[in-house]
Amino acid sequence: MAEPQAPPTQPPAGYARAVNDQLADVGEVLVAAVEEVGDMTLFAGRTMRWLLTRWPSRELIFSSLHQIGVRSLPVIALTGTFIGMVLAVQAYYQFRSFGMETRLGAMINLSMFRELGPVLAATMLAGRVGSAIAAELGTMRVTEQIDALTSMGASPLRHLVAPRFLACLFMIPSLTIMAIFMGFVGGAFYCIFVFDVDPYFYFHNAQQAAGAWDLFYGVFKSVFFGMAIALISCYRGFHCSAGAEGVGRASTTAFVQSFVAILVLDLGLSIVLDRVYFFLWPSL
């Protein structure tokens, strides 16, 4: 008698098949995301290697410093001023109900120094500069200018990425300080001239509340934000797909990913810096 044969393997039907397909799609997306993170890390590593071995020309660095730093100043100053004023408007009635309106300066300063200054400056930089970097490098990719650089034996990372990276790294602390300062000015202006808060107590409390550590706290975070914006935007530009749509998508993705990176880094660095603070000054 013949042995019973195993039933032939059949593809799952109906619901099971749909679940299988969904799982496969999710897996594909996850694998692509992991690959992208790995690729981006290698990209960052290669850029660092160039920065350690051969810097770009001074001409390129100064041009990037001007484009990224100097030209971002007006928009960051304006945003900082308005955020300071908005903080004053939002908090005034709460503080007045406790008779603590002279403490508004302390609240505005602390918010600007530790959180809003660096995050705001970084967000504006990601919007104004990050998108522009991705679009510019993306266009260079599409029009074969990056290939042309490589074909001439020149490194696109050294010529295109390194100067932008250095400019973001060096300029974002200054931009953050500008955002903080203008937020302070905007908040003080609105509280003193519109809400008629006593200027002596306003400035006295503001001075007492925020110190050197708070300034360091904000500026330190901003350095990481700057690095993330530069690397993500350059990477997006370098890996831009063909056509106008590809350039547009690279630009949008650069901003969205930079913004998410800023938020994630902000949380992580805040936790780390708080721990460092309590490690250094446990009694406080």
Binding site: T143, M152, G153, A154
Partner: protein, 283 residues
């Protein structure tokens, strides 16, 4: 394994100079899309090879693979006896200074002036003082028939033909041994195409340079090439006798066993439209 091109060529004649650049068994895939499969080609020193083929058949990919801009999935490229896949990043960069690449749309750097574009390789690789680099740039621009007055301009201020000539001047500035042209006459009027063809010939004569020209312009291929090969979609390079094939003489057609080559060089639609419609419906 004997590749398709070698089979078709037979043994190389004994008086053929040694190849400056050669590629063996190249296969390139982008994701799931196979662009090149088992392509073998070589160019003897001092000669001009034209690679013809239909749009989208992988001619530009082949050219970029020859200079290491694209890494093949299989096969290897050798330049002057050195295999590119065995070289480090820095060695490949040094080797690329011996090769000039003229891109389809010139690929000039938008942010730089024409002078800086042409002088770029000199400033990057040699410690040439800027003034001297500009002098050499002006000479190369004169070689391609452009006055020094264009040097202060930006690429966007030039016409397509002028940009291509600037691209050629930039490729020549390092006095390369090998020049790669990607569709040099595409998008140009017949007169400018003739000018570019003439420049390719003059460049070869003056600089004794080996050239590979990728084109689908048969007139251009016939004018500039010592040897023409056709890149089929995906598979192989088929050699042809240029003039005879272009004229479409019965003898040449009789010798050409593949009707598709004859059809391409004579520019006949043949069954392609119905084939393409079939592909569209199938897709």
């Amino acid at each position: 394994m004997v590749d398709a091109a070698t089979r078709q060529h037979g043994p190389a004649p004994s008086d053929t100079p040694a190849p400056l650049v050669s590629a063996a068994g190249l296969s390139v895939r982008f994701g799931r899309q196979q662009v090149l499969r088992d392509v073998t080609v070589e160019t003897p020193r001092g000669q001009t090879l034209a690679i013809i083929g239909e749009s989208g058949c992988g001619k530009t990919v082949l050219l970029k693979t020859l200079i290491g801009l694209i890494t093949p999935d299989e096969g290897a490229v050798s330049f002057a006896g050195q295999r590119l896949d065995r070289l480090g990043e820095r060695q490949i960069s040094t080797l690329r200074t011996r090769i000039g690449f003229v891109f389809q749309q010139a690929a000039l750097f938008d942010s730089l002036s024409i002078a800086d574009n042409v002088a770029f390789p000199l400033l990057e690789h040699r410690s040439t003082p800027r003034a001297e680099a500009y002098e050499i740039a002006a000479e190369r621009l004169a070689d391609v028939g452009l006055p020094s007055s264009v040097m202060a301009k930006k690429p966007a201020q030039l016409s397509g033909g002028m940009r291509k000539r600037v691209g050629l001047a930039r490729a020549l500035v390092m006095q390369p041994e090998l020049l790669l042209y990607d569709e040099p006459t595409t998008g140009l009027d017949p007169i400018m195409s003739a000018v570019i063809n003439e420049l390719i010939l003059r460049t070869r004569e003056k600089h004794k340079v080996t050239s590979i020209v990728v084109t689908h312009d048969m007139r251009s291929a016939l004018t500039v090439a010592d040897r023409i090969v056709m890149l089929y979609p995906l598979s192989r390079l088929a050699p042809g006798e240029p003039q005879a094939l272009f004229d479409g003489t019965p003898e040449a057609i009789a010798r050409e066993t593949d009707a598709r080559v004859a059809q391409f060089v004579r520019g006949e639609a043949g069954e392609r439209l119905s084939e393409m419609q079939g592909e569209t419906q199938a897709g």
